[in-house]
Amino acid sequence: MASGDAPPVKSRPVYLNLAHIRQPIPAIVSILHRISGAGLTVFGIALLLWGLQASLSSPEAFAALAAWFDKPIVKLVFLGFTWAYLHHFFAGLRFLFLDVHIGDTLKQARASGMAVIVVSVVLTVLAGVWLW
């Protein structure tokens, strides 16, 4: 480039800073799908099996687990996993439909992406209401 040439737009970003880019809805659904999947794998399966084992082992252990679920912090953690499962569930179904080219126009994909986010959060809140 000749030294006299000025770049056409001076404020162009020189690198892709993910924190500075406003992500489109499908990108947010996608990264949440990945984060929720990783969280469910690393923490969720072990907790699920541990809870299943305890709940089936004896009436006393079942009662202890039920009492444990009265603690607000346990409820909150449970709701966190509930949201992760619901988001992963609905985002996954959305990907299945996209795979077979149902709803894969940009407009539909944005709408279904927003629906995944909203439905997951609403059902998590309802689960919270039911739990409390």
């Binding site: 990783a38 794998t41 399966i45 084992q53 079942f62 009662a63």
Partner: protein
Amino acid sequence: MVTRPLRDSVGAHYGSRSWLIQRSTALIMVVYTLVFLGLVITKRRFDYEAWTALFSSAAFRVASLLFIASLCWHAWIGMRDIWMDYVKPVGVRLLVEALTVVMLVIFVIWAADILWLGAVR
């Protein structure tokens, strides 16, 4: 005579197999999740007797183990994708992938233990 190579020299081509496994295990989990919620939510009382009665059915135990096995296989494909995307040094990636496989295999064995042997003790 024209000979074709036995396999393509570029690309492993296991992607479509992983894709299919990830989708089919997902569908198994969708069905199990809906059946499970249907069975639990319709219970008038949710207590130890009702809970263990559910798991006393061999069909439900088989379905539950199928769910856990699907979950772990599905998780393997997803976790492998994550490690491949973010962990670039090959040695470290192989290590975390191996640890992931060991963890998930233990989960499946643990689930089988809970569902069958747990009742014997």
